[in-house]
Symmetry: D2
Subunit: 373 residues, 4 copies
Amino acid sequence: MNNLKKYALNEIPHYKVHGRTVPGANPLPLFFNGSAVELNVSGAELWADLEVSWQNLEMWVTVEINGELMSRQMLMPGTCSLCLFRGMTPNTVKNVRLTRELQAMTEDEDCCLIVHGFQTDGDFHPVAKGKYTLEFVGDSITSGEGTYGAIGEADWIPMYMSYSRDYAKMTAEALGADAFIISKGGWGVLSGWDNNPDSNIPSRYEQLCGLCCGKRNESLGAFKPYDFSLRKIDAVIVNLGTNDASAFQQPAWHDPATGRTFKQRLNPDGTFQADDLKRFQDAVISFLKTLRRHNPQAHIIWCYGMLGYDLTTAINDAISRYTKENGDHNLIFLQLPNTTAQTVGSNDHPGVLSHRRAAQVLIEYLQDYFSGN
Amino acid sequence: MNNLKKYALNEIPHYKVHGRTVPGANPLPLFFNGSAVELNVSGAELWADLEVSWQNLEMWVTVEINGELMSRQMLMPGTCSLCLFRGMTPNTVKNVRLTRELQAMTEDEDCCLIVHGFQTDGDFHPVAKGKYTLEFVGDSITSGEGTYGAIGEADWIPMYMSYSRDYAKMTAEALGADAFIISKGGWGVLSGWDNNPDSNIPSRYEQLCGLCCGKRNESLGAFKPYDFSLRKIDAVIVNLGTNDASAFQQPAWHDPATGRTFKQRLNPDGTFQADDLKRFQDAVISFLKTLRRHNPQAHIIWCYGMLGYDLTTAINDAISRYTKENGDHNLIFLQLPNTTAQTVGSNDHPGVLSHRRAAQVLIEYLQDYFSGN
Amino acid sequence: MNNLKKYALNEIPHYKVHGRTVPGANPLPLFFNGSAVELNVSGAELWADLEVSWQNLEMWVTVEINGELMSRQMLMPGTCSLCLFRGMTPNTVKNVRLTRELQAMTEDEDCCLIVHGFQTDGDFHPVAKGKYTLEFVGDSITSGEGTYGAIGEADWIPMYMSYSRDYAKMTAEALGADAFIISKGGWGVLSGWDNNPDSNIPSRYEQLCGLCCGKRNESLGAFKPYDFSLRKIDAVIVNLGTNDASAFQQPAWHDPATGRTFKQRLNPDGTFQADDLKRFQDAVISFLKTLRRHNPQAHIIWCYGMLGYDLTTAINDAISRYTKENGDHNLIFLQLPNTTAQTVGSNDHPGVLSHRRAAQVLIEYLQDYFSGN
Amino acid sequence: MNNLKKYALNEIPHYKVHGRTVPGANPLPLFFNGSAVELNVSGAELWADLEVSWQNLEMWVTVEINGELMSRQMLMPGTCSLCLFRGMTPNTVKNVRLTRELQAMTEDEDCCLIVHGFQTDGDFHPVAKGKYTLEFVGDSITSGEGTYGAIGEADWIPMYMSYSRDYAKMTAEALGADAFIISKGGWGVLSGWDNNPDSNIPSRYEQLCGLCCGKRNESLGAFKPYDFSLRKIDAVIVNLGTNDASAFQQPAWHDPATGRTFKQRLNPDGTFQADDLKRFQDAVISFLKTLRRHNPQAHIIWCYGMLGYDLTTAINDAISRYTKENGDHNLIFLQLPNTTAQTVGSNDHPGVLSHRRAAQVLIEYLQDYFSGN
């Protein structure tokens, strides 16, 4: 390890950043699960210089070499040099990807992962752009909750969340696409699973990363408006509605500080209260307008179903209304297979088999869509 | 074969009829694919006495013994005695099912299959009712078109249609359910694939079997109103819309005799013309009312997708409107996986792998539904 | 059907015969399961003119169109014209194969299937030779016993035997090979499962078809020496030993007529008696010599294991001795996966899933072998 | 993390050690891939106190919680506290296993992994013994080489070796068995892949861990005779012969220091030279005697085939000779499916799919074997 050379990120001639971030940031924060730095590098050895912080929700990362998962591990707070590979044939070029497994966290104001640079005895080579660019917008499903951990586990911990076994990764890989992920467990279109009206993804979509918190993240630029001109998305895959469906079944949310309260209501016969269903649909329509404004050319796929089909018709109805009112036909509803006892993972969430089935539906649809365009 | 005894159907103490038919008919016409006679019979040998007629579209049947397919064959016009099994241990009871593979046919006025009776050296034993009763209402997909035959075949012939590899059979078997099938290739909710407005299933749903033709079928009672009180359906699975979507892409239908013409139109930009989409949706709503009237307790599942997702939102929109106008929430939309190059069969129709995937979605949904009721 | 033209087999310019038979025979007997006539034919319609005879064990056939199974059915004794397809586009050429499902039978002296000719409104086109030529030599496994019928069935009837779900067919198809089948349920290398020393395949291997009986079969040439120069086998797959293993567990065979008796014995501790194991091995060696004499260029694969691994080492020991004594290294032992509760079929025999697993081992081995030669 | 309590291993009332080691050792060396410490522990948090050393071949470990893989990572030399989980519900008991991924190494004299103890805020609970006890004896296949890493990789590095995707793990888990692993890449029964006659597993089998080197390992007791009375093995699975087959194809091994040389030779026609084949077989027989001496009750399964079938008959011949000479029938040969282009992993070694297929054969065989005993 003597002849390793240390590079700050901005000294590296070629590297590729996955996920939304501040363009040209050095050091580079990785805000979302799936956010990553990808390198093509020669040399026998490669290390990443990282800065990790968190109070209660620990950071997890994965390392892939030439597209194959090599390691998955927890990172302790502090700075560290993490060995990504060693002992390899120096003159071959390896494709390496260091990826954040953990979703953005509003529950830990210190939670962040920052890439300062790399150390290697090799050289850096260009990294190709993906064939397509996809954006996945979702909740705990898209945050991979349940893709690790035994069936029956009930702890809400970072260890059970992932990008490495996420349908978004499977879909992007099968298509040779780059993926942007924006997702947060428990959040919905109108409200969170617990009727918290602030836990809605649309209100944060236009920020770089509105799904975290804290001064450190703020200083990294997380809450600034996102510059959508930075990337041209071919398809936006929205996988939301699951927590909105839960809200109807949960007690009212109440904020003792302000006295504010919120509740999506059921009728006495167990059906959705019409007004509340309508405000969910209005939120869908409003979000579709936001998505279209920032992604004028993107095909929008609204996915739903991995944890129940209850809002299928309501979502479609909203899509239909949006289409009529806006003359926008460049979107579709796609039902993803519900999770079963055979495909469930930890925390009663979709397991890796459920993610694979969902990815298959998306892959086939997108292959078909892209081949026709 | 000397000691075989010949029984007319009405001399047989125990037998079970699958599919819509005239109650107590002797001899018994089998009108639809999936229509069948099921026996529990001892003896070394069993023969069926059949009457077969057709002009140009030949009849096909299958024989199952103890739930396993033994034979599938073409039947020539005339009367015949068909050996269903022989050489078996006399004192064990075999479950035997003789099933029509071929859908009802409006294209051959002679096409019918009539069971006159059976010959055996054994005795007849009671046949149990299924755990649930399902009705499948569909088009060529539900008629199993494409489930036999090589990929690339393009002949529209009975040989390529089936019940034996149909998602309806797979679904019913997995649930231990009895299945009624009403399906006809090329037909839709509003019009046929070719814009023929008479090729709509709703107009025939209330007849015993309005999907065939000819004096012989008429004399068998095919066109009489069906007595829906004969069976109580637990779930109606409608798989329609595929031909309605085709109609938008096809030239206008024109009847030279009457000068009548019909066309579902596209806008110049390739989207569905709003008025025409609405009349499709009106037809969906109208059909839902018909289904509900005759199956007041049934859960209605509107399936769609095995040959394209184009009308997904339109169907859901119609379901939503139907629900609002009628206060009926006992129905759901289920998207079935589109057919791919890997799952296609003959005639560009879903192959057996596509049927299996579709059945899996239905099986999982229905298991979930029935377990909660 | 008016313009069908009737052709005796010898009037047909192009047809291909599968399986051992008398060269140029007209009419043509099909002796073994897998024996078949294959045609490439245009026209809307094709019928086969057949002669069928049997007393107690009924004949079964399959029809394949363009490589896909269309029908499987029992044939009654007598002559018949069997419609193989109808209603097809006249000017396309269809590949059609009419195949005997049922193994050769020593238990029914009338049992035979003879092809007299075909009727069609189309023309006959050349049928290509397979890429390789394989010979499968076996017992009930190779006769497909258990590939049809429900788990738990115990009747020894033709209905449960097949070529259509046989590992030999799967293997040949995957390799694009022509297959010769010589197999008979219950038979072994040294003796049958019941210790009958006459039920050994080697004693009949050099006859055209020594595994049937009766004057009719004799007159068809079944018992004449087979002219091995007629075909050049690339690989002989022997799947024998299973019944030899059974013989050790079964009571002695005794022929009351002659007083002749035979028994493969176990030691008191349940292991194989050394002398009896040796005479089994001698029979293996002797058979290998026979196989080599008639197939000097063929790669010999001795398969074993689908119904137990008991004789694995004994067979290998014999192969090793044969190799040493004869300097012949062009052979290999291949263990096929044992049948499990998940893969069993009827009659406690390998089901279609077991055949598929076995075929997979053979396919991979042969692909590897042929790619290296 | 304030209330964590630090325990030396010998202060922990309940823990289970997997793999051969010094009984009661504190601290505890983990010598082989698959060697592990397993705990049942309550508490919110668990850390392992480890000592790691290596010069050039880095250590890898995995952590499993309740039977599911959570992390896989490289460990740097030195002492460290590794967090195994945190943030979990304190009062539930978690099953935790910290496992060495990396095989024993003769190529790095510093290479070792030592468990000093654990830190937790919970309590320790008893860990059950497995239903069966298995010993796997093998080469690079059993060391999991190729189970990680992309197809086409050619670096011989620890990252590509594993226990976590090894057929031995899959087999043990499916049977609920405890597994002992003794394996070393490149080694054989008679010689290594390169004809090195010292690279033979039998010469090291009787040492605790003869497959590593260096003073540190020596001081840990690695080279002492293993006390076989410590465990009673139900089945020994030997997966050797692959490197012995390679030796025939490789140039002679030559030790410049001593002038010693060794070569397994081919005949001019490419077949194995008889004398050399015999000395391989003698080594097999000799090893079988060793295995039997130390495992008198164990069922011995000699597996072979995952990287070619070349020595199948030779191994069986040796088994047969061993059986005859020693009257020992409690052993069997099992052929494992060869690796194909579809199942290969990195370094031209079996990938995870190949391991799964091999495990399936073993699982089915052992389930059958154990159910009959």
